[in-house]
Amino acid sequence: MKGVRDRGALHQCPTSTHAALFRHYAAGVMALDLAQPVGLVGTADTVLDIVRRLVDEALPGLAVISDDGRPLAVLPASQVLGLAVPAYIKDDLSLARVVDEAAADRLLEALVGLTVQDVLDDAEPDLLGTIDHDATLLEVAALMSRLHVPLLVVAGPDGRAIGTISAFKVLGTAINEV
């Protein structure tokens, strides 16, 4: 069934940029086709706010964008969780076992007052996790796999974020091609 593509998401998009891109890339699934306008957060958001969004919207992660809409980083849910774990416990996992349940349950207390910008200051540059709008399904899968992230942020021709692609979406699309 190669060549028959679901352009539903693209047709629903009102922007002329997307329409132009659709005409240009007439065949093959592109990152643009899979992008969904969910999971985008700004640098001024607090970490606790994004934790609530992850939980409420059941997202695998979030993409951080700048004030002018450019992608800055991808924050997988596991990395957000990791922010709550002190570095010394990550270095010595046996210390996680010695902490009593009551204290362990309060792990998110460490995130109070932190903003997304604070997190980015310590983030690995490799976690940028941005893919071009015209990337193929294989490129998307390869980058996700290499970065070990469950979502990527899709950048449009002007470099601004269009939306995010989740691993679930990639797998869901790819399975239809088998």
Binding site: P86, A87, Y88, D91, L95, V98, D100, A103
Partner: protein, 428 residues
């Protein structure tokens, strides 16, 4: 001309190591390439000669002990002991510092200093966070204790391993000769800590109570593996003590121990191999070749002869010259390359005039000067550099001068205590 070239290569490498312009292993290997390329030494001198080549006893002793430590790390023993100690102090800061430093010093006597501080730092952070204490004074005190404790045995500090191999001194020789002064210095250090770190000792009863909720038994995942690991450690120590009687080298004891530990505390082989500091081993090999080149061209002989003339047959001048000189130089450059260079010099000095070296005092002054001198500055010993790096990663940066302010004081007190000890025991 060859002598000038060898010395020039050596000085350049030393400068690169001291200034950290390039990684120390790269600097050492670059120097090795130069001495090979210039034809100063060849394979015979570098790999097979006892006098000018790589000291394989040192390399394999380090390798074996790294494997022993890798197994012990997997048992959770150290975390258990540290949390148990914290609970015994009921969260009171000064007793906590005393117990953690004592634990660190004892562990450092048996294990490599760097490994010991890597083990103690995370648990210190956990306990200090629980007690709402600033962990920096505790981390600094622990690394100082580690360098002090490590001075007491053959395997406690890499400079001692080099000295032991060069001078043919056993594990027991180190314990008998350096053990007493290390205990004295350690007691003085703990008393001194009461005053120099006094600002850190704020007691919060509520926070102290939270330490009592830590469960140290949870740190030990596999009690049987712990018992087997402890048994191997005890056997290794017995092996070191009986090494002379058994007629085997310390490196063989360590390698047997390393192999036994891998069997006693099972784990993925690659995990064990990751715990071996290969870069450090290669750095040591490079140093030995560079110093061997100096021996080969006669530079070490010339230096030893000049020193022999300078001390004029006076063992007091020789002993304290080496003690003070080693302390000062080890504060500026890492004490490992310093001792690697000085070991053949002291060897030659003792050979030229045996009267200078009653009871191997020159070797003990070299060990004490280098080991305690390593405490003086943030870059004096590898353990200092490692702890400062860890502290920064955990969000508690320690500046060069913050460390040096405490380290220098501790070094001055330590060396001052060594003077009457060496005088009364070997020279009076």
């Amino acid at each position: 001309m060859t002598t000038v070239l060898a010395v020039a290569v050596f000085v350049i490498v030393y400068a690169l190591i001291a200034t950290e312009r390039v990684p120390r292993t790269v600097a050492a290997l670059g120097g090795v390439a130069a001495v090979f390329g210039l034809g100063i030494v060849g394979a015979q001198e570098a790999f097979y000669s006892r006098q000018t080549g790589i000291d394989w006893n040192v390399i394999f002793l380090l390798l074996g002990m790294m494997l022993v430590v890798a197994g012990l790390r997997r048992t959770g023993l150290f975390e258990f002991l540290a949390i148990w100690s914290a609970k015994r102090t009921r969260g009171r800061p000064y007793p906590l510092l005393v117990l953690l430093c004592t634990l660190t010093a004892v562990a450092s006597a048996l294990l490599d200093n760097v490994t010991t501080v890597l083990l103690v730092a995370p648990v210190t952070l956990l306990v200090c966070n629980r007690l709402k204490l600033n962990p920096v004074p505790f981390l600094i005190a622990e690394v100082l204790a580690s360098n002090i404790g490590g001075a007491s045995t053959l395997v406690g500090d890499p400079p001692n391993i080099i000295i032991g191999s060069r001078a043919d001194l056993s594990f027991v020789d180190f314990v008998v000769n350096l053990g007493p002064i290390v205990v004295i210095v350690m007691v003085a250090f703990l008393l001194l800590s009461r005053f120099v770190f006094r600002d850190a000792f704020t007691y919060d009863p509520e926070a102290a109570e939270s330490v009592m909720h830590l469960d140290e038994r949870e740190a030990i995942e596999n009690p049987r593996a712990l018992i087997r690991g402890m048994a191997v450690l005890v056997l290794v120590l017995i092996g070191f003590v009986l090494q002379r009687t058994l007629g085997i080298e310390p490196s063989i004891v360590a390698l047997l121990g390393g192999g036994a530990m891998m069997l006693a505390v099972p784990g993925p082989t690659d995990e064990y191999m990751k715990q071996v500091e290969w870069e450090t081993l290669v750095f040591f090999m490079g140093l030995f070749v560079l110093v061997g080149a100096l021996v080969e061209v006669g530079a070490i002989d010339a230096l030893a002869s000049a020193l022999t003339d300078a001390v004029g047959g006076d063992p007091v001048a020789a002993t304290f010259g080496i003690l003070f000189g080693s302390a000062a130089l080890s504060a500026i450059v890492d004490n490992i390359p310093y001792v690697a260079t000085m070991a053949p010099v002291v060897d030659q000095l003792a050979t030229n005039d045996p009267a200078l070296n009653p009871g191997n005092v020159l070797w003990w002054s070299l060990a004490l000067g280098a080991d305690f001198g390593g405490n003086a500055t943030a870059i004096g010993a590898s353990a200092n550099v490692v702890v400062i790096g860890i502290a920064k990663r955990y969000g508690y940066p320690i500046s060069f001068w913050q460390f040096t302010r405490y380290g220098l004081l501790v070094t001055v007190v330590s060396i001052a205590l060594c003077v009457p000890y060496l005088w009364l025991r070997y020279l009076a």
